[in-house]
Symmetry: C2
Subunit: 135 residues, 2 copies
């Protein structure tokens, strides 16, 4: 266990994410569903070491709040960046990106998806090992 | 230190909240500012034991994500409820309410304020000790 990880996770692990859109073991716990007042979906995502989602975009954008462990984040055309507990990432609508755990630490973030009346996510191709390790 | 509290907080403590709107020691760290894409403000709030905010409403509503410790939440006309790490509270626009720590534990939550084009918060009267202890 990495020193940056909480002893007791904030949220239960939730459901295993689909292998269609993720590499490795990822767990998603929905925290709030979309409604007509907030047009927002919030979920908690736990990535096991080395796990990540596919390249994707959010039609309404996304805010990631890193709460535990150490992860990776990359926007298309920019280097992979390390994300640590307490970091907040603002992703504008339509920006192609991926996120996941680093190779030796779990990574947990809260994902806030606003403007879901425009759509939640459009999935693209998998993040290859070459892309993942290019840091 | 309460067993339910993290050893290492996720966010730095931030700025001390104004005594005009809070009883006791409360610390606010802004995580994202309002913009024209998300119309959202997100902040982290740490309440020391016994501390709470005044009664208030949010014109755009609010979502509280409890991340550490044990707190209290009350809507006008309903009993005080205990809020634990991992609980999520959805507060509709215009609902009169307050939140804070329980008497013997710090309490930390992330506050997501959507629809801030309608306003962020309207402050009302202080939560008296009688109201706070009526649990």
């Amino acid at each position: 266990m990495n020193n940056s990880e909480n002893l007791i996770p904030i949220f239960p692990k939730g459901e295993k994410a689909s292998a269609d859109y993720f590499v490795g073991n990822v767990w998603i716990k929905n925290l709030i569903p979309a409604d007509e007042t907030f047009h927002m979906v919030i979920g908690n995502v736990v990535f096991e070491p080395g796990a990540r989602n596919n390249w994707h975009t959010h039609p309404g954008g996304q805010i990631l709040i890193a709460t535990d462990g150490t992860g990776y984040y990359q926007q298309r055309g920019s280097p992979v960046q390390i994300v640590r507990k307490g970091d907040v990432i603002i992703i504008s609508p339509g920006i192609e990106h991926w996120h996941g755990a680093s190779p030796n630490s779990k990574f947990t973030h809260i994902a806030v998806n606003p403007n879901v009346q425009n759509g939640i996510v459009d999935w693209l191709q998998k993040v290859t090992d070459e892309e993942y390790n290019n840091i």
